[in-house]
Each structure stands twice: as C-alpha cells, then as structure tokens.
C-alpha cells in the first residue's frame, strides 16, 4: 500500500472508469435492478406494517430510498470477477505486478459506482416525483457521515467477498461459499426491513454481526432516523480492521497454494 503513488491510483481509476463507460447500458440496468427497497416500501406501507414499529410512512419511504442509495454504492461482486479471472488465467499476470490484484478490483468497483451515480440519481428523482411528501434535504453533516458510513459498508462487503474470493486458491468455486452469505445479508442487513422492526431478541445480537452495518446503519443515518452514530461507525471500523487482517492471512496462505491454472 505504501508504494502506491497518487499517480498510480489516479491512472488505475481513470482506466477502470474508461472501461466501465463501455458498459453504460449494463450499468443502467444494474441500477434499475437494485430497486428491491422500493418493492419493500410498497409492501410495508400498503399493509400498514410501519405502525407496528412506530415509523411514519414518510420516514419509512425515506429509509427505503436511502437503503436504495446505500445499496447502489456498496454493491460488491469481487468474488465472481476474481473467480472468473482465476479460472481463465488472468490472475497470474496481476499477481506478478507490483500492485496487489485486489486494488485493481477495488478500483473497478469505485469506477462502477461513479458510473452508476447519475442513474441512481435519476431513479431518486423519479421516486420524489411519485412521492413528493418524502422529499427531504439532509444536513451537510448528515450527508458527510452517510457518505463515510456507506463507504465503510462497501469496504466491509468488499473485504468479506475478498476473503471468500481468496478461497479460489483452494477451490475453483469460491462463489458458492458467497451464496451462504446471501440469506443473512438479505434478511439482516436492512434491505427488506429496517432493523428497528426486528424482534427484541434479534436486536440483542444482530448488532454484534457485520450485517446491520451494511445497509440499515448508513440508510438510517441518511434518512434522518435515530441511531447511535459513533457506536455504529466504530463497529464498522472494527469489522473493516478484522476482515482486512483475515484477508491478508488467507491471501498469503492462498498464494502458496496457487496452481496458476488456466494458463
């Protein structure tokens, strides 16, 4: 990391951005495909479920719009890309370059997020046109904290998937391990329902897992709902440090097992 100059990073991002712009249509479709929170909002409000958790319709719609935004900027697919690259032998040239291969994938994700931003904004504008009562302008501080929190959420997911991707050195189908994470991520992250709506006994342990910090925590901050910001950010940082440490360990032992297949 210490060897990465600003020039190195900026060239990496520019190149990946140029590559991502080749996939404009796909990115628009990916952005549209991330509308699960809006479906969930519809289910919640049409059935009056929000009353049971003391969240107003407006606050709930803001929560799900925020969840949509957080999801747009924290979505990660590194395990699938790395698995494909490993199988096709593309990882080999990356490994023997003086740049950690995962920094390439990291740059790819950031470039994709930048490309995705206008589409996400467009969907948000459409949302406000159909839900004018939900329009709100968060304070600058809220926006800044939300951006950091969303970025931390992205980092947690990126590192989680990078750990799983590193299992490609032992098994060619590491993405199947990732599927084990799909269910807890879907149900515990706050994508389908705010964690505030979960039963008390779930809430007692869920905050000790990384899942609520993926969607619920940043979305709650952005939407202006109440949450423990400092505790949440600290927990995010803790998960980042822990996963970074695990990733390094797995990567180091994994590369010793590397068979450079696909060459």
């Amino acid at each position: 990391m210490k060897n990465l100059s600003l020039y190195k990073l900026s060239t990496l991002f520019k190149t990946q951005y140029a590559n991502m712009l080749e996939y404009r249509a796909e990115i628009a479709l990916w952005a549209i495909s991330g509308v699960i929170p809006f479906f969930m909002l519809n289910i919640w409000t049409n059935n009056g479920l929000n009353e049971s958790i003391n969240i107003s319709n407006v606050m709930l719609s803001r929560y799900f719009l925020s969840a949509f935004f957080v999801r747009q900027f924290s979505v990660v697919w590194v395990v699938f890309t790395f698995e494909e690259d490993a199988l096709l032998g593309r990882v080999s040239p990356y490994i023997i370059q003086p740049l950690h291969p995962f920094i390439r994938y990291f740059a790819q994700h950031i470039a994709e997020q930048i490309t995705r931003f206008p589409f996400a904004l467009f969907i948000a504008i459409l949302f406000f046109i159909f839900n004018p009562q939900s329009v709100w302008i968060p304070s600058l501080l809220t926006i800044i904290i939300s951006i950091f929190s969303t970025f931390f959420s992205f980092l947690i997911q990126f590192l989680m998937q990078s750990i799983i991707a590193s299992f490609c050195f032992w098994t060619e189908k590491a993405s199947s391990i990732e599927k084990l994470l799909f269910i807890p991520t879907l149900f515990l992250s706050g994508l389908l329902a705010p964690v505030a709506s979960f039963p008390y006994y779930v809430k007692t342990w869920i905050y000790f897992t990384p899942f609520p910090y993926l969607i619920d925590f940043p979305a709650t901050i952005l939407s202006g709902n109440q949450t423990k910001i400092i505790e949440g950010i600290l927990m995010q940082l803790l998960w980042i440090i822990l996963f970074f440490f695990i990733f390094n360990k797995v990567w180091k032992s994994g590369t010793k097992k590397f068979t450079a297949m696909g060459l």
Partner: protein
C-alpha cells in the same frame, strides 16, 4: 564474464490432483469419497542462467517446462529447493524483483478487453511507477520496434491475434524488464507474425542485454533465438547445453544424393566404403557422419564427375522430436 542471474538448486514441485473414474459409479464415488494423488511435476532440478542469455526449454506437453517458468517468475511456490532470480527469492515477490521481470503467455492476456491497448499501457506504466512522459517515450520506441501504431487506439477486442500479441508484448515490456519469461509466445500466430516476434525478441535482447527464458513448440523460435537449451522430460532435466551440440548428438549424420554422369562412377563410389542407403540408375544416396562430411565430399568431388548433388539433413522438428521421447540425452 557474465554473472549468474538465475540459480536453481534441487527444485521440486508437486500438485495434488483429484482423479475420477468414468461412469455414474465413478461420479458418485468422486462426490462421496474423493481420491487425490500427489503428482510431482518438477523433480529435483538444477541449473544456472547467465545475464543476457537466451535459453529455450524443450519438452513434450506436461513435461514441466511451464511449471518451471511459473516457479521462476514467482507465481508458484516450490515444494522444495532453492531459487535465486536477480538476487531475490521469486515467491516473496518483492517490489524490486517484480520490476525486473515479465511473463508473457501466448493466447493469454493482461490487456483490458474493451478499451484500446494504449490505456492498458499507461496503466501498466503507472503500476511500475513510470512517469507519463517517460511512458510515452517507451510506448513510442516499443511500438516502432513492434510495428504497431494505429492499432494502439482501437479496442483490444477489435485487434487480430498478431496485433494483440504485439500489444501484449508492449504492455509486458513497458517497464524495461531485465528477465523475460516467455511461454509459447508465438502460439497461434501466422508465419510472418512469428518471424517478426522472433526478430523483435532478438533485437530486444541485443539492445537491453535482457535474459530470456522461452518455451515453444515451434522449433524455429528455439533455433532462431536460443544458443542454449534445457530439455525437460517428466520433470527431470535430460539435457542442458548448446543447441548445436544437441543437434549433433541427436542427428550425427547427413544424407548425400549424387547423380553421376555414368553408371561406372556409381560402381567406383560403391568401393569407397560408404554407408549406402539407395541406388537408382545413376543416382546414389549414402549417409556420412557430420564430422567426416568435409573430407568425404572433397574426395568425391575431386575424383568423380557428377551432374547434381543434394545434401539432406533431417528436419529440425524431427530431430527435436526425439528429445520428447528420450529419457536421457547422452
């Protein structure tokens, strides 16, 4: 005297492979009780390579050539042994080592598929810490040497295989590596593209003094570029030395066909104690040892009136083919 840039001592490499018997029974057994075998693909090999040498690795498919290259460039962790490449242990992949080497694999690519190669070149330059101005200079030089120009601005997916290979080469050489590992670099290229690539590598070696290690099944690559070859058979080194000596060992004789003016000459030639292969009217074909070649031919030309003469050597592919089945080349 050049110093050793690569030292390999008692290197071995094993892979664990799961084997499956055919049929449904085999499939179920493979699922429930997977059997693995340990396959030793490189067996206790030793060699040294001097700075600036071009060395060819010869051997059949699966002999272990590519595995050796992968170990030398730091991709694979050896099971046992000691390696030093440019003063570093390759597997540690320290920055200074990675900046000195490059690995080029035929048909495999590091260029980003959907954008022009020029973008990948600048990215590679940045990765190796080369400033933009210097990168521009190097891209210009290398593209002139490789004879690619307008192709640099087309998406990689639109380039022909030959153009893509040249672009791959440029991307791999932008950091001026001093050690090149080339695994089948001319694979799939047409004859002209192969020749151009060989020429380029020779010039690159002369201009930069780079060390080149090469595997190829195209014998022209080997004969054009390599003075020294290392033959690998089932993970062992069976020969390490000059290509010229290897060819003499494997093919010590030449066939000479002479068309004489009269059958009387044929009769006289028979008396010369030659190893005759064939006689057809006034044409005689015999085999002579390469060491006796000059004297024998001089003797014949001075004593006989001949109409025509052909000297046949077995094709190099045929000779080298013997290496692939020879366990030990003495």
């Amino acid at each position: 005297m050049s110093k050793n840039i690569i030292e390999v001592k008692n290197i071995s490499k094993s892979f664990t492979i799961s084997a499956k018997t055919p049929g449904l029974k085999g499939t179920l057994r493979h699922f429930l009780n997977r059997k693995t075998i340990e396959k030793k693909v490189v067996k206790n090999i030793n060699f040294e390579i001097q700075e600036g040498e071009i060395v060819g690795f010869l051997g059949a498919n699966g002999a272990g050539k590519t595995t050796i290259l992968k170990i030398l460039c730091g991709l694979l962790y050896p099971t046992a042994g000691f390696i030093s490449v440019a003063g570093s242990r390759p597997f540690e992949r320290d920055k200074s080592f990675l900046e000195k080497i490059t690995l080029i694999m035929g048909q495999k690519q590091q260029l980003i598929w959907d954008i022009p190669p020029i973008d990948s070149f600048y990215l590679n330059a940045a990765i190796y810490g080369i400033e933009k101005k210097e990168a521009m200079k190097r891209i210009k030089n290398l593209s002139e040497m490789l004879e690619i120009d307008s192709e640099l601005y087309l998406p990689v997916r639109k380039l022909s295989l030959g153009q893509r290979m040249k672009a791959e080469l440029l991307a791999s050489l932008i950091h001026n590596p001093s050690i090149l590992f080339l695994d089948e670099p001319t694979l799939g290229l047409d004859i002209n593209a192969q020749a151009n690539l060989r020429k380029f590598l020779q010039i690159y070696n002369k201009q930069t003094g780079a060390t080149i290690l090469l595997t190829s099944h195209y014998m022209k690559d080997i004969t054009y570029l390599c003075r020294r070859v290392i033959c690998i058979h089932e993970g062992y080194i069976t020969y390490d030395g000059k290509l010229k000596n290897l060819l003499t060992k494997l093919s010590p004789n030449k066939d000479i066909s002479i068309i004489c003016k009269s059958s009387k000459d044929i009769d006289n030639l028979k008396k010369l104690n030659l190893e005759i292969k064939n006689i057809n009217d006034n044409q005689i074909t015999f085999t002579i040892n390469k060491l006796d070649f000059k004297n024998t031919l001089k003797n014949i030309l001075s004593k006989f009136e001949i109409e025509d003469l052909h000297i046949n050597e077995p094709p190099i592919d045929e000779v080298i083919g013997k290496i692939l089945i020879n366990k030990k080349i003495k």
